[in-house]
């Protein structure tokens, strides 16, 4: 139980120290901030990955506060999200060479990461809310970090309005849940609600509001309109952080709230149908919109919406029996991890290109494989994994999710997912086609900075490794799923 405190402590103290140093020590350079924040993130990651961490799972005796838990679900999400942070910080090195306010940038990323870790571990709506805000508020600033660019600022304004709206909606939903039960502890909420003979209609309203609140972060379809604009306008490293990191935190929060606090018998049917509907709409719309984009960032944004649709399947099958749920949760967790890696990699390639050339249109990628062979290869692997081509990691998680849908007797949902996967291959293949087949406009070699190459190659290795040996992750996610399902 000490671990979450420790991690948040490490991240927060580095986050606090960084601007302090930046203020007092005039010689503060990009390298310093980069190294310091990497140390903080890697230390936290190492703490989560060490074996003692797992022995602590069983030991629930040391507890400082009832609002935190330390379970495998939380560890899993924290690992996935911290990995994204590491990716982002690592590749920010190039981006920050040209920017001011270095210390603040890294510090805000660390603050936000601390918030994400906390979300993964909270068992109390109050703490969840505060952690949610700790994650969100720094990202408002980060989205508008490029103060001289209109696009960045527009992205920030839109993101801010929608972000605070999600705060408001979330708050309203939480207030209803609190009004129904008189408590904020997730376990207690479930206990009290399940003791009632009737399901209060207000709980339905509350869950819809919570779906909407989380959905704004998760990029579920009716709440997705800000996503492409923000991802396009914000500095691309920040978009990576938003798409691969904070979005996952939305799923972490939603999983906790919906599978621990609100799985009520009377509610489940309405829920599963709503979620199944949302899932189908989200993936279909995301994929179709992605097909028509001419801008790599918007394409990736829409594909990220589609990916959110796949993960939503897990909520839709909550009614389908323990086995389906177990498969689904484990698939969703795996997909979260995969998506964190694949999306980071894809966005970082876009970031690299934008930094080099300032261009985000797809035409620039024509003949990319000649100009930057290694980057093109890594990008291809990431895209194929996003499309769910076996045996890359993205295949297995989608496979688990779809199987769960079949297991829960929702074959149509699985079918929709599979058809969508096939559809999505089309636009990923179009990018690959551009990179390998189309003639480039010019044959100028593009520099492949070491930081990017390292992180992209690492992601390729991870994608292939998890693809060839998915067992390592799946056995863990299944354990986490069992912990989550009563």
């Amino acid at each position: 139980m000490v671990l979450p405190f420790l991690i948040v402590g490490i991240l927060a103290s580095f986050a606090l120290i960084l601007p302090g140093i930046g203020f007092f020590y005039k010689g503060f350079k990009n390298t310093h901030g980069w190294i310091l924040s990497l140390i903080a993130l890697l230390a936290s990651l190492a703490l989560l990955l060490t074996p003692p961490a797992y022995s602590l799972i069983q030991d629930q005796t040391i507890s400082f506060t009832p609002s935190l838990t330390f379970d495998s679900l939380g560890i899993f999400f924290s690992i996935a999200m911290l990995m994204v942070s590491v990716f982002v910080v690592f590749s920010s090195y190039e981006f920050m060479k040209k920017e001011g306010n270095i210390a603040q940038y890294y510090s805000l990323i660390l603050f936000s990461s601390a918030g994400m870790v906390l979300i993964a571990f909270s068992m109390d709506l109050l703490l969840l809310f505060i952690a949610w805000e700790l994650m969100t508020i720094p990202t408002f600033v980060l989205a508008g970090f490029n103060k001289k660019a209109f696009e960045s600022n527009e992205a920030a304004v839109k993101y801010f309005v929608l972000g605070t709206l999600s705060t408001g909606i979330l708050l309203y939903g939480i207030s209803l849940v609190y009004g129904l039960t008189g408590t904020l502890q997730l376990n207690e909420i479930f206990k009290i609600l399940s003791q009632r003979a009737l399901v209060d209609p207000l709980s339905l309203l509350a869950s819809s509001l919570l779906i909407a609140g989380f959905g704004l972060k998760m990029a579920i379809v009716p709440f997705h309109m800000w996503i492409p604009d923000t991802y396009e306008g914000a500095p691309t490293t920040v978009s990576t952080f938003l798409a691969a990191g904070t979005k996952k935190a939305g799923f972490a929060a939603a999983l906790r709230v919906f599978l621990i606090a609100l799985p009520l018998k009377g509610l489940l049917n309405e829920w599963s149908l709503t979620f199944a509907f949302l899932a189908i709409i989200t993936m279909t719309l995301g994929n179709i919109a992605a097909l028509t984009q001419g801008n790599i960032l918007r394409l990736l944004a829409y594909s990220s919406i589609a990916q959110a649709g796949y993960i939503l399947i897990v909520f839709a099958i909550a009614n389908g029996g323990t086995k389906a749920l177990e498969l689904g949760v484990s698939g969703a967790l795996f997909h979260v991890l995969n998506h964190a890696i694949m999306k980071s990699a894809a966005f970082l390639v876009a970031a690299l290109v934008i930094q080099h050339s300032g261009r985000a249109d797809l035409d620039y990628y024509n003949g990319f494989s000649n100009r930057a062979p290694l980057t093109a290869f890594n990008f291809t692997i990431a895209l194929l994994a996003l499309a769910g081509v076996p045996p890359l990691s993205g295949f297995w998680s989608k496979f688990l999710l779809f199987t769960a849908a079949i297991e829960a007797n929702m074959i149509w949902l699985a079918l929709a997912g599979i058809v969508n996967t096939a559809l999505s291959l089309a636009y990923y293949a179009l990018i690959i086609k551009r990179m390998y087949i189309d003639e480039p406009q010019d044959n100028v070699k593009m520099p492949q900075p070491l930081a990017y190459t390292f992180i992209l190659t690492l992601s390729t290795i991870l994608i292939m490794f998890f693809g060839l040996f998915p067992d390592i992750v799946i056995s863990y996610t299944q354990e986490a799923a069992k912990a989550l399902i009563p």
Partner: protein
């Protein structure tokens, strides 16, 4: 066995800087090595007469503990043997044939060829449905790049069309396999699934695989990607496409539908056979009106694959063995025809049958090969393709005499090949700037005929390996 070419692919790619000669030599060496392996494997199955059993079993090694169904399980039996053999042969021939026809980005090309070979080996030997599916999907990537990079003028369109059709097809396949997995969560090893699937599931799975494999085969309403892909692909790749990729569909039908879903296959055989007949007729008739030599050959292969579907679902020994035999023969003969069309295109500058003439005087060697190849494609009794077509049709007739109309198909085929030959070869030419084949190419192309003649002369070489497995499949179990 699978690893050899894939390893070769990596080596070839990374030696790419050393120059194209090294790359070619390496690719040839690796493919020859793979060919030797496959001949050895084939030979040992043949001599020990173990066509019905699994040989060279690797596994099942559990791959993913939590998915009980998935294991690494590879083996060869009488069904995979001939296909593995022809894969080995075709790869060597394609590597040889690419010397003249592929002129840029060689390292990538040859490494993709070897990668493709390895994956195809995987498809034909996988004994686990998941493993099979993974290889099946992986084939798409090199093929997509082949068509897209080295293809003709409309290559981009053809590549994307190919990818979308086939990936949509495999989506259905995945759905079927997932359903099977949910039904039997502990294993998807093909030998362990025999006869354990309830009938209703078999029916649903049959429909899904009809689409899934049907796209690859291709059956008629789903075939439209094929002519485009063939026409745009470079000649050596067309050989792969027609010779091996289409076989994946046929192989899938035999392995999965006949093998795992026998009751449904029996009940629904009229659907499959009807589609097979339609495919045969369609392929033959549409081929007749083509002006482009290559497009004509592509449509011929649709026609030929119809035989496979027809034979496989006749449910008797003759038909099934004939279908398997046909797959092997077709791979060899279509390889020859496509390579020829490639050479003709290069030498004569056109494949348009309305322009192409007088090859008899100007390109005697080419004409000879074209005549021979066409004869093989017609099912002329000097080649083993005659044997297999005969077996299929005979098998079909013995099932239901109505299927005798299938006899009409070879007649149509003969008709349009004759017309083509009259046009292109025997009509006197108007110009005389065509060049004939160099003799090394002639030898290389003639090599395609070897298996066809060999297996006509000694059909037992093939049938001894095929018959046991088809007998086993028909009896069930």
């Amino acid at each position: 066995m699978i690893l050899t070419p894939i390893l070769g692919a990596l080596v070839t790619y990374f030696t790419g800087k050393a120059g194209t000669k090294v790359v070619r030599a390496l690719a040839l060496a690796f493919s020859l090595f793979a060919l030797a392996l496959s001949i050895l494997a084939y030979g040992s199955i043949l001599t020990e007469n173990k066509g019905a059993e699994l040989n060279f079993v690797e596994g099942p090694y559990p791959w993913i503990e939590t998915f009980k169904g998935l294991s690494y399980y590879i083996a060869m039996d009488g069904l995979s043997g001939p296909l593995v053999l022809i894969t080995g042969i075709l790869t060597v021939l394609v590597v040889l044939g690419s010397y003249d026809l592929i002129t840029f980005r060689e390292p990538l090309y040859y490494s993709l060829i070897l990668f493709f070979e390895g994956v195809i080996f995987g498809v034909f030997t996988a004994q686990n449905l998941f493993l099979f599916f993974i290889f099946y999907e992986l084939v798409l990537i090199p093929m997509f790049l082949f068509i897209g990079i080295w293809g003709g003028p409309k290559r981009k369109y053809a590549a994307i069309k190919f990818l979308i059709f086939t990936s949509a097809g495999s989506a259905f396949l995945l759905l079927a396999f997932m359903a099977l997995w949910i039904f039997s969560p502990n294993t998807l090893n093909i030998p362990e699934l025999y006869g354990k699937i309830p009938f209703w599931l078999q029916v649903w799975a049959s429909f899904a695989t009809l689409i899934g494999f049907g796209v690859k085969l291709p059956i008629v309403p789903l075939h439209t990607w094929l002519p485009d892909a063939h026409v745009e692909a470079p000649a050596p790749i067309s050989v792969f496409l027609a010779g091996l990729l289409l076989k994946m569909g046929g192989y899938g039908f035999v392995r999965v539908n006949i093998g795992l879903l026998p009751e449904a296959s029996r009940e629904l055989s009229w659907i499959f056979i009807t589609i097979g007949l339609v495919t045969m007729f369609y392929g033959a008739i549409v081929a007749m009106i083509q002006k482009d030599l290559k497009r004509m050959i592509a449509l011929t292969s649709i026609n030929h694959m119809g035989y496979v579907l027809l034979g496989a679902f006749t449910g008797n020994l003759l038909g099934l063995s004939g279908a398997m035999f046909q797959m092997f023969n077709h791979a060899a003969l279509i390889g020859l025809l496509f390579m020829l069309s490639g050479y003709i295109h290069e030498q004569a500058g056109t494949r348009d049958l309305t322009i192409l003439r007088g090859m008899k005087q100007l390109m005697p060697k080419t004409s000879l090969l074209l005549i021979v190849g066409s004869m093989a494609a017609m099912g002329f009794p000097t080649f083993s393709s005659f044997l297999s077509e005969f077996m299929v049709i005979y098998g079909a007739i013995s099932l239901n005499s109505f299927y005798a109309i299938a006899i009409a198909v070879p007649l149509i085929t003969v008709g349009y090949f004759m017309w083509m030959m009259k046009r292109a070869i025997f009509t006197p030419s108007l110009s005389n700037h065509y060049h004939d084949l160099p003799s090394h190419s002639f030898l290389h192309l003639a090599a395609y005929m070897l298996p066809l003649i060999l297996f006509l002369a000694m059909p037992w070489l093939m049938l001894n390996i095929i018959n046991p497995i088809s007998a086993k499949l028909i009896i069930g179990g």
